[in-house]
Symmetry: C2
């Protein structure tokens, strides 16, 4: 391995530099450039088209918050659809919930799955869990006209600026997702940095509000993504976040490193400037 | 001005690079190197001994959270002592509270005050407010044997790794502060990054717990400081955070950009890993 610096942009004039031991793997799949980079302070990193997708050190924050906020808000989640999430981290968190009967994962790029199983086994091997079924196809096509209904849909995609994910941030796709949800169904999606990408966040929320009766933003710090709190969207027909009756079960054997009931509620407290922007 | 890159360390192998238009001011005071740097994405920055003390873009998060969390938790704050805070941002937020009768500020370095008034007038000029009295001396000496009592003490210092602030993070200093507080008094202090400086945070909390009956950590993201949530300590003899009866007054004309009542409560929800570390 050749030591090098991995550099990424936070805003047009702010950059983060990570000292790395080297690149463990690099290839171009049909859909994207996939790299596995060994960094000194974030550990091993999965990099897609030059953007950090996850790091060993802080992936738990992202995956726990994407999964447990909707799952603990739902009264009895049984069937979960994961859009993207080929690394397996989202599936790993979903199957921690005892009532889950079926996890349908739809990932477009099988190379991400293979690489994750090899380089990030604590995430990738979750895809071999008996409740998890992986389908290799475009999720946009999968949800179009889908008859099966899910309790929770988790959108664990790359950012909308990255080509193959753009269609996942549109009214037609969200409408198909809404139709694939049960009455008490919840959709959660990663959105973006609330401080340096505020316009992106506002635009995703505007699109979601065209489709979902209830749309709320919640926050978590993901140090390897950006300098400011990262945001997720919580969308439903009727269910409010944190209202689930299973909420009280937390702590009885359930293990998490970032998530807990206080963090769940607190994640929905938005800074005054962001609240005002979202209310405009 | 000569364009340049301002580089700072997040952890031993992670660095942030800010593109800057140039340095507006640079001098060595009796106590520290003082620079005013014009950055492109954080605006004007006050840099002390090479460390960002504040930026125009996000100083409001730091000052609002250091001030309004203790002040809105106190039932009727009247007299406030500010340790450090020569830039004036803390005083600016304190005098927003109508019941304040006297703000005693103790700053060791008069050059910081002069520079702030010239380069950051929206902060520095708060020190000319009729309720604010500025004393130029070492706060450690000021609080030793102090007979006057304060409702709130705010420690707005540089980090403990920086020489002249080290004594502000010790049992003798905290004991003098405790003695200078009324029965319902509250002390709040900036502590550090919870993710890359966890040991520093734990060590400050341990020291505070030797002195104060109630010590709680609360969080806020300050993008120009670090990649992870920054922490503050809330310390008191009896008062719990958020318990103040004035809390409900918020919103009646009171203006803030980050702080609101939900943010106040949410700031005390700690990630599971940090909660466990603090309980050890």
């Amino acid at each position: 391995m050749v030591p090098h610096i991995f550099r990424y942009e936070i805003s047009p004039h702010i950059f983060v530099y990570l000292e790395c031991k080297g690149i463990l793997y690099s290839s171009q799949s049909r859909f994207q450039k996939i790299e596995v980079v060994e960094s000194l302070d974030f550990g091993r990193m999965l990099v897609l088209d030059g953007v950090i997708n996850l790091t060993e050190r802080d992936e738990y924050v992202y995956h726990e918050m994407l999964v447990h906020v909707p799952l603990f808000s739902h009264p009895n989640p049984s069937k979960v659809l994961i859009v993207g999430g080929g690394d397996g981290g989202t599936a790993r968190e979903v199957v921690k919930h005892e009532g889950i009967s079926r996890v349908q994962q739809v990932e477009i790029d099988e190379e991400v799955i293979a690489i994750s199983k090899e380089y990030f086994p604590s995430l990738g091997l979750a895809l071999d869990h008996p409740k998890v079924n992986v389908l290799l196809m475009d999720a946009i096509e999968y949800v179009r006209g889908l008859e099966e209904k899910f309790d929770v849909i988790l959108i664990d995609s790359t950012d909308p600026v990255i080509n193959q994910s753009e269609g996942l941030f549109t009214v037609p796709f969200y409408t198909d997702c809404l139709n694939a949800l049960t009455e008490q169904g919840i959709l959660a999606a990663q959105v973006g940095d609330t401080y340096f990408e505020t316009n992106l966040v506002l635009s995703v929320v505007t699109t979601l509000k065209e489709v979902f009766p209830l749309v709320r933003i919640y926050l978590a710090p993901i140090p390897s993504y950006t300098l400011a709190p990262y945001s997720f969207a919580f969308c439903s027909k009727t269910i409010h976040p944190g209202a689930g009756s299973r909420f009280s079960l937390f702590g009885t054997g359930f293990q998490a490193r970032y998530y807990n009931t206080q963090v769940h509620q607190a994640a929905f407290a938005l800074p005054e400037h962001l609240k005002r922007e979202l209310e405009k």
